[in-house]
Symmetry: C2
């Protein structure tokens, strides 16, 4: 279980492989996949350089495993979250938000890497990860449309992406403590999801928006 479980105990001590993945995630998040060398990753876990090849086939394999496992985790946990709300559509959506907020706050590096470095995967791995991500988005789209049935699917999908952007913005702001941040993101996300459903109203009114 390589993901921090939001306040749980240190959970034994992850052994090498996971230790390496954690260090690599942090470095990839800060400097990008190509901006980090094998030696730096090794140094970050106290071994030096090529020792990593005892644990991974190559550098790509680290990124691959990292992104694959995070995508799998999000999908699986997302599905369970919805099921756990059995029937109550609104609760399902709100729990989904809650879950994603917690995950983003507890794993900012993984969020960054997944957002920024998908393109550095080999093509088959990329397809696999994209597939998992698509299915995760699908979970959200369904949850959103159950609460807001008059949203067409493309709009719901775009809204889901936008909410991910909102929640995943977390690596870029460290001004609030964790719980305040979680509460803020939760409220903003829920409000944003509800927005496209509202009466059109003030889209073109307050002053003339067409001319600069």
């Amino acid at each position: 279980m390589p993901f921090t479980s939001a306040g749980g105990p240190p959970a034994a001590k992850p052994h090498r492989r996971d230790q390496i993945l954690n260090a690599a995630a942090g470095l990839f998040a800060r400097h990008g996949f190509h901006g980090v060398g094998i030696d730096e990753i090794g140094a970050a876990v106290g071994v030096s350089g090529p020792a990593l090849y005892r644990h991974f086939r190559n550098k790509d394999a680290m990124l691959s495993e990292m992104l694959t496992s995070v995508s799998e985790h999000l999908l699986e946990a997302g599905q369970r979250t919805v099921e756990a709300a059995a029937g109550d559509a609104e609760a399902a959506l709100h729990r989904l938000v809650r879950f994603h907020v917690d995950f983003a706050l507890d794993n900012p590096s993984l969020i960054s890497v997944q957002a920024r470095n998908l393109a550095n995967l080999t093509e088959p791995d990329q397809r696999r990860v994209r597939g998992l991500q698509r299915r995760y988005v699908e979970v959200w789209v369904e949850a959103i449309r159950k609460v807001h049935p008059d949203l067409d699917e493309p709009t719901a999908r775009a809204a889901a992406h936008a909410v991910f952007g909102l929640i995943n913005s977390t690596p870029h702001s460290r001004h609030l403590d964790r719980d305040q941040m979680a509460a803020l993101l939760y409220r903003m996300a829920v409000a944003a999801i509800a927005a496209p459903d509202l009466p059109s109203a003030r889209l073109a009114d307050d002053t003339d928006l067409a001319t600069g």
Copy 2:
């Protein structure tokens, strides 16, 4: 004027330097700064390889100029947007949203690069860009707090970052046409900004959120 002006005419034809920056922005956005070679950038504008050194001191200079000019543009245009709404706080905020949405939709590559590749700048350039970004955020924070005076500053700042994340999510979703997307993002952003101000209400109610 290197930025597409939201539907305007092709605007003469950008000369080399800008042409190169545009191509480089697209490539950096897709593959990351280190993932793109000089030769590829050259090829993208029809010249090959080292010809670029007639126009830029080195590869870093391209990224530097790209990010500096986009930050300057955002700050300056953001300030003008607020001034143009002279006095009307709500109009100012909504025009700010409108402006940022338009910019993000018209310059997705620049948005991506600015978000992903800040770390690849030399340290002095990085400071410069960060300074400009900070001042742009400040414009937003002031605008937000004029409309929602009971928000403390850190919260307003965090909210601003979150809204940037929401709006900047645009490179990742191409399901709607431009105008629908603009309208959607505008509504979601405005609703998200208003959210932290609302009565606490349903934060801990619907089903028990504490236990997983």
